[in-house]
């Protein structure tokens, strides 16, 4: 078939020369390569002991955000559930009572917020869809578990530590504690 473009470059199959016919030179070359690798630095990250830092945009387990005063941001608008291709998010909204103003930022809040991590595909669309600065993904990958029930993450397990009354945990979650320890 005639050439369709003027960019083609034909890769001819070169016939083997005498040295290549002997098998051995190429084998020795290969063996030299593998042998040199024995002394190379090992690429392995021994996972449970060493951890590879994930990128700041890594899409791991979800977190539900609170504002600086420790109030939940989520208003149960349902956009994340709509955006979820795996239909992994369940929520039930509720009206905020006046006594709960220190708990929830807006008038509506999610009374129940569950994510099924087993169905979730960590695509990040919920994070993007949230108009209220409420749901984010974290740099923790989802841990494995023995039963299916163990993968329903309820609101308690998703909410970030309260920055007001649980400052220490909050700092750890923010990764500040590690940074400080490292600096010391």
């Amino acid at each position: 078939m005639a050439s369709l473009t003027n960019r083609a470059k034909v890769l001819e199959q070169k016939p083997m020369n005498f040295m290549e016919r002997l098998y051995l030179p190429a084998i020795f070359k290969g063996m030299a390569i593998t042998f040199m690798h024995m002394f190379k630095k090992k690429a392995t990250i021994s996972y449970p002991e060493e951890k590879r830092p994930f990128s700041p945009v890594f899409r791991g387990l979800h977190v539900l955000n609170r504002d600086e005063e420790g109030r939940e941001n989520c208003t149960a608008c349902g956009l994340c559930a709509v955006a979820c291709p795996a239909e992994a998010i369940t929520m039930e909204g509720a009206e905020r009572k006046t006594s709960e103003e220190h708990l929830y930022r807006e008038e509506k809040y999610a009374a129940k917020y569950e994510i099924n991590m087993l169905r979730c595909i960590f695509c990040g669309l919920c994070e993007e869809a949230c108009p209220k600065d409420a749901i984010y993904m974290s740099e923790t990958f989802a841990p494995s578990n023995f039963t299916r029930k163990g993968f329903i993450y309820s609101k308690d397990e998703l909410l970030i530590p309260n920055p007001v009354n649980d400052k220490e945990k909050y700092d750890i979650a923010k990764g500040m504690r590690e940074a400080q320890l490292k600096n010391k």
């Binding site: 369709l4 960019r7 470059k9 034909v10 199959q13 083997m16 002997l22 084998i27 899409r59 990040g124």
Partner: protein, 408 residues
């Protein structure tokens, strides 16, 4: 010729001179889920019958129920070795339908990502050819550098394999400096490794003998079957979607199309090899072009398409108009024109086409994927006819069949 008489013959023994071997669906070489029922005469394959569908996931049906932006999660899982490429193809399709014009920088960023994923795709394919001929070590050498590509992905979008990268009109966020550094690192380190891999295989007689002249298909047959991509180019036809119908500003890049001569396993291997070098050169060019945008007005990462590209989060939190658009886009209620679009990209293993019929609704009316693997695999039984069992396995891997893409 044979009188039965009173002599009892073993059942079915008269006609059967061959054995039937069931290769797959859980055979190690079928990495994935292909089944081949082989009629074998000794070690020679007389007839092969392929069965597919062991991982049919009804992508096309799901796509009819998903708004456009959610379909990336499906395209990710088509050819999972090069999922960003599929994503970009899908976004290009949407942009074509919606009439969104992407700025040059977005195009170049996309080119970088697409070529990276092409490299990762070819890497897997060629190193698996190595594994299937029995040499495992080369595979692990290059897999280390696939990690570098994945790190770039992770830096750009936060995920490694099924990236869900890119949005209609651009990317969800700008590339960070770390991402660029990682690309640089890859560009610096990878050529040496790839050279080493070539040294391990290219001129090794055992490898040459295993691949040359096996699993060959002629250009005519390949075209008749609808081959595209490296498998077609290995037969000597220089058809490349990137050149024939350039998308994402591929016309701005200078690269050649490597073609083979005989279409055998070795040609496919060599074509992929050379394409990796070409991709590296394209990435370099694109990287320079992107760097040239630095600080200029065109330093953008998405198109100006407020109806389809989500507004910035800061605006969503504060401005009413942005919030409305945000809601509309997420709910999939922005205006989508009716029409039929066919857009194809040069996927990791051939022309990956998207045939989208929109009736103006929130979801596609019909979305069909032209999956190159699906087309290659039907030629498999013809290719492996009259070859040895071992050749059939090398052929299977050198065709680069990806089950997820094939069965959709």
């Amino acid at each position: 010729m044979l009188e039965q008489g009173n002599i009892h013959l073993p059942e079915g023994s008269i006609e059967k001179q061959t054995t039937t071997l069931n290769l797959g669906p859980t055979h190690p070489a079928t990495h994935g889920v292909f089944q081949n029922i082989l009629e074998m005469d000794g070690e020679r394959i007389i007839k092969a019958e392929s069965t597919v569908g062991y991982i049919h996931r009804a992508f096309e049906k799901i796509a009819e129920r998903r708004p456009l932006y959610q379909i990336t999660t499906l395209t990710d899982r088509l050819n999972y070795c090069s999922s960003p490429l599929n994503n970009m193809g899908w976004h290009l399709t949407c942009e074509k339908l919606l009439g969104v014009k992407t700025p040059k920088r977005v195009d170049y960023l996309r080119v970088i990502i697409m070529e990276l994923s092409r490299i990762s795709d070819h890497l897997i394919c060629n190193s698996i050819v190595g594994v299937d001929t029995g040499a495992y070590t080369g595979f692990l050498y290059v897999m280390q550098y696939r990690e570098l590509i994945y790190e770039v992905y992770e830096e750009v979008c936060g995920s490694r394999l099924t990236t869900n990268m890119g949005r209609i009109g651009g990317f969800e966020r700008n590339f960070s400096d770390v991402a660029f550094q990682k690309i640089e690192k890859f560009l610096a380190e990878f050529p040496g490794v790839w050279k080493e891999f070539e040294n391990l295989f290219n001129r090794n007689r055992i490898f040459i003998e295993r691949t040359v002249g096996t699993g060959a298909i002629s250009a005519e047959r390949a075209l008749n079957y609808g081959f595209t991509g490296p498998n077609l180019r290995a037969t000597g036809v220089d058809y490349d979607v990137r050149v024939h119908s350039p998308y994402s500003s591929y016309e701005d890049f200078d690269f050649i199309i490597p073609v083979g001569t005989t279409g055998d396993n070795n040609d496919r291997f060599q074509v992929r090899n050379e394409e990796i070098w070409q991709s590296l050169s394209i990435i370099r060019q694109a990287y320079q072009k992107v760097q040239a945008f630095k600080g200029t007005e065109a330093d953008v990462y998405h198109a100006d398409a407020p109806a389809y590209y989500l507004p910035a989060k800061a605006d969503v939190y504060t401005k009413m108009e942005a919030l409305i658009y945000h809601f509309k886009i997420v709910m999939g209620e922005t205006e989508i024109p009716a029409g039929e679009v066919y857009q194809s990209v040069e996927g990791g293993n051939g022309e990956l086409g998207f045939y989208l019929i929109s009736d103006g609704g929130r979801t596609p009316y019909r979305l069909h994927f032209r999956r190159p693997c699906f087309i290659y695999y039907q030629a498999y039984s013809e290719i492996v006819k009259d070859t040895m069992l071992s050749d059939a396995i090398v052929t299977l891997s050198s065709l680069n069949l990806i089950a997820g893409e094939m069965d959709a």
